[in-house]
Amino acid sequence: MTQKQILPSGNPRIDRLEMQGIVKRFPGVLANDHVNFDVNAFEVHALLGENGAGKSTLMKQLYGLYHPDQGQIIFDGEPRLIHSPRDAINLGIGMIHQHFMLVDSLTVAENVALGLPSTRGIMTDLDRVTKRICELAEVYGLDVEPDAYIWQLSVGQQQKVEIIKALYRGAALLILDEPTAVLTPQEVDDFFVTLTKMANDGHALIFISHKLHEVMAFTHRVTVLRDGKNVGTVNTVDTNKNLLAEMMVGRPLNFIRNYKTIKCGNPRLKVENLSALSDRGVPALKNVSFEVCAGEVLGLAGVSGNGQPELAQVIAGLRPSTSGKIMIDDENLTGSTPMQVIDKGVAYIPEKRNVEGLIKEFSVSENLIMRDLDQEIYSRNAFLNMGNIAKRSADLVKTFNVKTPSIDTPIKSLSGGNAQKVILAREISRQPKVLIAAQPTRGVDIGATEYIHERIIEQRETGTATLLISEDLDEIFALSDRIAVIFHGEIMGVVDRKDATLQSIGLMMAGEQPPETKTAE
């Protein structure tokens, strides 16, 4: 046996990893059905598939979190049993998880240090860890504050902590399960530089994403899964976005959309000089003003952590404002309770859908009635009308094409995209006057994304005023009539989509005042 090559991080290189005939069953789901997968040193191998195709499941078996029912995992020709993440770590495997694996009440440095030996015996060596984090942050362009508590960080920053955790451990094989879902385009570019460098150093990388342009941009090979089965493995240079999409979904998708622009009606949602505090008690919104007309989509672009969730929450009545006014159709909504806001016809697709938008243990139908419980069709004199609820839920599940075994299935057994459709079904079916959609397609596969976009457009055409909050500029450009940019809690400017370029919006997102918007007004 030959001596293993050593990587710059000090870990021995993994030249080739193979997963053969992996079968994994869950109650009711065959998540992996004889899946084959391999990755080599110096390679970035993409793993693609719709929501629920079995990507994360496959990777969790590699990382020792799940154990395959059948099949084997072979490292450099040697079959290995991986009982736990500890085994995986010892073999040189690292993983960035799709759902953050961070301890909220600990600091960044503490999260990074967790589970690592300390140079100071039983005592922690957080100052060393802090120093090393700063170095890594410097090298890879990941700005995070090592002393901050995780709960203080935005999702984007938390994603960076996950990346730092993986880099810090210097794994020879790194699994990246949707690492870019919440990063801005610039951050993604920087991140890819890092990953490319790692691959060139001899690391093996597995990359999962729903964003095909990312896959096209920097991976070497692509494996596509559908319904837990291999569809095929291709070299990236031999394929294109459309072919990949077709492999995933089983039908062609159209990425370019054409819809008629309609004339803006009356201002439906009016926000004037709105200010509010964040959870930490610091100003998160500063004199924010804008209008959304009936039949219009206003896209709100911005890097995460600039006040977007706070804005949505204030409008939804979930967070008090410190000053300013919110009007809907000339009715003052400032200071209303969430219930009053709901009654005024405001629909809200929250960003943290698992935390805020859904009750995971509740069934699909229970989640569908969540915001309209007192409506006559659902209840009378506090007694639920089970018949109507079932009928209506079945209707919604059908119209919105939610893939679920039944309306009584708990939401937690649904795939991410389908859970998102439940929220959408609930909010849109309320015929809202105003729709606040925060990150509506985050983590959702391309088929579902297409579907959600179509619904938002459809809604727009019925006269709903939509505020679309998204960090995904593609989405903003695809759907918006006008685009507003938020930075540090302030609106940097509002531009018509046809006047906007990726570059001008990007600059505003970085905090630069665009001179032309002032004059254009």
Binding site: L65, R86, A88, L102, D104, G115, M123, K165
Partner: protein, 309 residues
């Protein structure tokens, strides 16, 4: 009445509070470790009783005080291991398992007592061990440094616990496992090993808490000697927001008010005894309202961790 708050009375009350707080501290610090790692052990009181009996038995038969503490610690450790096995390995609902362990300890300690000793007896427990020099300090000396060894031990435990939780890699793992076991698991931290450790440690300290009653403070054993003290200790963990220093403060406040209520009765203030007895409990609630801590419990508290395979 006017002598109610003279210096010497106050010193007496404080000394009482310090002494009374001892079993609470051992049990509550032990429970803090368990809860910080996500395990709610409601069996503390039962474990204390088993510890109290074991220690008493050794001292009654041999007079060996250290041996008594060691056996109490060992028995506590075993009961802790049992609780860990049920709640970690078998992933049982922690609240009920704890009640089961409590009932078992309550019955078993009395059964052993009736079979092995039979009659209420006293033993010579740990003598007061004044610390040279320090005990001569006016005011503080008699309060703090004229106690027995197990009392000192309880107070030394507080900074140690603080150190372990806040300054060591082990503490980091414990906190992580209690907040987000999944995250800890993915970093190769064995959730069950940590929980076994903290729960057994908690059991061991509860055993010593029992010993502090039976061979240091009361020097007797009787059916249900603890009289629910272990449950108050759990309450103090919540009161202390899972931090040793605050647990200490809570134990002292509760004990002080209890000592005060006895004093008030002894000096004959015209208050019905029932009202006097309920005062510490009312005051504890008032203190809770005033301090209104915004600390939330460890997120994974009382949740079994299983990889959802």
């Amino acid at each position: 009445m006017e002598d109610l708050f003279t210096g010497s009375v106050l010193i007496g009350l404080l000394a009482s509070a310090i002494r009374l707080a001892t079993p609470y501290l051992y049990a509550a610090i032990g429970e803090t470790f368990g809860q910080r790692s996500g395990v709610l052990n409601l069996g503390v009181d039962g474990i204390m009783l088993m510890g109290a009996f074991s220690a008493f038995y050794v001292v009654f038969k041999t007079g060996d005080l250290v041996g008594g503490v060691l056996l109490a610690a060992l028995v506590g450790l075993l009961m802790g291991l049992l609780m860990a096995f049920i709640s970690v390995t078998l992933s049982a609902e922690q609240g009920i398992s704890g009640i089961g362990v409590y009932l078992f300890g309550l019955g078993m300690s009395d059964l052993l007592f009736q079979k092995l000793i039979n009659n209420v007896q006293t033993v010579s427990g740990f003598p007061v061990a004044p610390i040279p020099l320090l005990s001569e300090i006016p005011v503080l000396g008699p309060i703090l440094f004229r106690q027995n060894v197990l009392v000192y031990g309880a107070y030394i435990l507080v900074p140690i616990a603080w150190f372990v939780l806040n300054k060591t890699t082990l503490g980091l793992k414990i906190k992580a496992v209690g907040e987000n076991p999944e995250a800890a698991d993915t970093l190769g931290v064995s959730v069950s090993r940590i929980r076994y450790f903290t729960v057994s440690l908690g059991g061991m300290l509860s055993g010593i808490a029992g010993a502090s009653l039976s061979i240091a403070l009361l020097n007797v054993f009787q059916f249900n000697l603890t009289n629910g003290l272990g449950f108050i200790a759990i309450a103090l963990v919540y009161f202390g927001g899972w931090r040793p220093t605050w647990v200490l403060l809570g134990s002292l406040i509760f004990s002080f008010v209890n000592a005060l209520q006895i004093w008030v009765q002894v000096v004959g203030l015209p208050i019905p005894s029932d009202i006097a007895v309920m005062t510490p409990y009312i005051l504890t609630i008032v203190v809770l309202v005033i301090s209104a801590q915004r600390v939330r419990p460890p997120s994974a508290l009382s949740k079994a961790y299983e990889r959802l395979e």
